[in-house]
Symmetry: C4
Subunit: 262 residues, 4 copies
């Protein structure tokens, strides 16, 4: 279950693919890439809340994942999301040691990124934006521009279901287009980013649109805004688990699928 | 007319292309991919209606097709639309058995996706959005922001014409950029998604912008909103048929074109 | 100066590249592709004016060119714009016979596409939108949302200059990313479409943002709205000529550049 | 440290990669490409300010860089930004002579592009837009649509920090996805453009969103609007330096990384 064989090494020559990556690249470089990538992603995501417009927030977060994944897909896999790392580990794309290192790097990166936001948006403005934290029902951007007090009828449970379904889509798209031997494609990083983008448009007014425990945990630490934090851990991990199971049972290529191999 | 030879197996090595896919991958995996993909697409499309803004809806639906097609183009062809499956069958890209299996999977997936919407958007909100169903003249989003009672002058017949012309574009782009031996390209899945995106912007205020019978049938079942349902079956199938005929007569590569082969 | 050698046949195998295309593909198929593509593009562009929002119009037109070019770049080159065909002919990417056939096909396609708009948008609505024609200063979408009577200070001459500069960008991007042996890339069709997209955002409030004589001529015929039509012919052709000259003198690859060849 | 070996020559055949580029292509063509590209970028960026909407400005600037980089990545590297050229020089992707030539070409191109804006937007309109110059706190586009006098609490120092962090992201993405032997990908130019796009959404209301000294210096010359110009030089260069150091120490491929080589 060597990491270098499971990545989307699409641009490397065949003789390169078989080389064993040195431990520095396999553990240090890849973990650092997850740290710096998650830091930048959370900084962008929290700053983008200042745009106060669902489409701008969706583009900022979705395209940020697309570009970071394009930059680092051959270095670390380009997850920047503990749920996606979990799904990758379930599918055997990264080994469990890497998954743990990635988790720590992502959480630390998210906290650093969110702290930078506190450092640059001063006083009242920071608290009005709640530090860029995800908010149940996407408070802060009215659902109906013609009636700003109107909200969708949802509950925390339905928010978890929405986070789970859409996280399942994000993880499935990541696995199919970046990991799977049969399906991987050079536009895979864009597909992964677009998955976040459309999920935010679809889920913003229900759950606030996180789909990433690190993105929700990061700003909660410096801002102290912990409301409904459990939504953003339960939903994405349930979705990632379902996605990993579907991949192992039906959707995976002949090598990763556990049943009906060829 | 083997399925595995007609797909856009662009990233596989040449010796892989000739291997006969096992029946599990050819029928079960591909049909399941259409089911899960259509489920996710219809869920996203119906949830996105809550954004109440044409550009957001167009991006959510268009990019969702782009990312799902990128993920599954080498598994099932990545249709998620009975009209596109019909056009593919007319062009010989999938065999008739697959086309029938796909149709059933897409309709079931759309109903499941739309039912999840009913499960998470509660009470009044669900009925105000009419379950995310396509609506003639795109009711719910005013055409003219300065005069919200003003509508484009259209009739159900012109809505069918608009659905047909734009569905013809969507199917032609799908066939050229994902199936055709001469034209297929690694950005084909993006082109297919962009085709839906621009069609929604262009047609939203006329027909509501469906171009996909499954996307319109799905939410009609749980919401009971069946008005003008025939528009979304007649238009896309007429467009798909025209697209298939044009491909067979003029636009296809030397092998698929029925006349003037080389 | 064979057409098949100059196209971006990036996905074909090397032994395919040398085959001489049959005359049917070289002349009939490619000209028909330009006809049907320009028809669809003009239909989408004119319908998109009903969105009454610069960003929506820019996305509809820009992404439409991107997807059509992705679909047809290996068939006809994917121009859908007489100015781009002119620049391609100046650079030797298509032969003069093809350029003339393309011009006729593009003009006829644009008229057909614009006529379909008249057929589906009835009565008053069609005339309020002026059939989707380009309009000097982008009338119909206010420049300043806070002061809808305010306009940018421009004249027809500055509109021609803006059309010329931005058309030069569009043609240069098309030539570099789709034709040039050294620079062509698989994302070339997207780059060509994005060039139109950003040009519309930048130029909409000055010239209305055409950059394409066919897109402006088409709707003028059925709508009878001919004001400032000369802007949309002078600007794009001047830009295309400058772009072709720059390519021949400096930017072209070793074979197409006329000076300092290697 | 030959330029031709370090570029993303992904589409050229292997035997081409080893050929030494003629001096004309190595110095004259590449410098001219940076000149014309920066001219077009600054023209588009300054014109786009007339859209008065953050998302439109972000798309115009971000996609403009994406398309210009796609067109010129194999000619000059496709920087159009002195900070990115500086980072590339630090990483050994271009030699110092090229970096100096590029700097001069970019500054001259930016001044020419901004002068064209002054030529086409007449009188008052030009001064109301301040020539399209970047403005601290993104003045001209209200932060809060419901309270147009409300601003984010920021200071010039926090603006420099925001410019530095986001410029670091832009340079890192450019280096990883276009230069790095292990990570470069065919969607690299899109990733570079998306990096600017998301940075503008995230930073617009703080610093005005430049991340490019040439884009800020260009319009300052004809418009005479020099306020806070130092922000747009200090921020991007600090970010580029950090990005180059991280690349040399941790993120670079085996050849460019200075420590722990394989």
């Amino acid at each position: 279950m060597s990491m270098s064989q499971d990545f989307g090494n699409r641009t490397r020559k065949d003789d390169d693919e078989d080389r064993k990556p040195p431990p520095f690249e396999k553990y240090v470089q890849s973990t650092f890439a997850e740290f710096i990538g998650t830091l930048l992603f959370v900084f962008v995501a929290c700053m983008a809340v200042s745009a106060r417009d669902v489409l701008s927030i969706a583009f900022a977060e979705g395209l940020c994942i697309a570009l970071l994944c394009a930059a680092f897909v051959n270095v670390s896999g380009g997850h920047f999301n503990p749920a996606v790392s979990f799904a990758s580990a379930v599918c055997g794309a990264i080994n469990p040691i890497c998954a743990c290192l990635y988790f720590v790097a992502q959480i630390l990166g998210a906290m650093c990124g969110a702290s930078f936001v506190k450092a640059v948006i001063l006083g009242d403005s920071y608290h009005i934006l709640k530090g860029g934290a995800n908010q149940f029902r996407g408070l802060g951007v009215p659902y109906d521009p013609y009636d700003t007090f109107h909200h969708l009828n949802v509950t925390p449970v339905t928010a978890i279901v929405v986070e789970a379904i859409l996280s399942c889509m994000i993880c499935t798209v990541y696995l199919q287009s970046n990991i799977d031997k049969k399906s991987q494609t050079s536009v895979g990083p864009l597909a992964y980013g677009f998955a976040l983008l459309v999920s935010i448009i679809a889920g913003f007014h229900v759950s606030g649109g996180s789909f990433n425990p690190a993105r929700s945990f990061g700003p909660a630490v410096p801002s102290g805004y912990w409301d409904q934090q459990y939504i953003y851990w339960a939903g994405p991990y349930i979705g990632a688990l379902v996605s990993g199971v579907l991949y192992r049972l039906v959707l995976g290529d002949g090598k990763k699928r556990l049943i009906m191999r060829d």
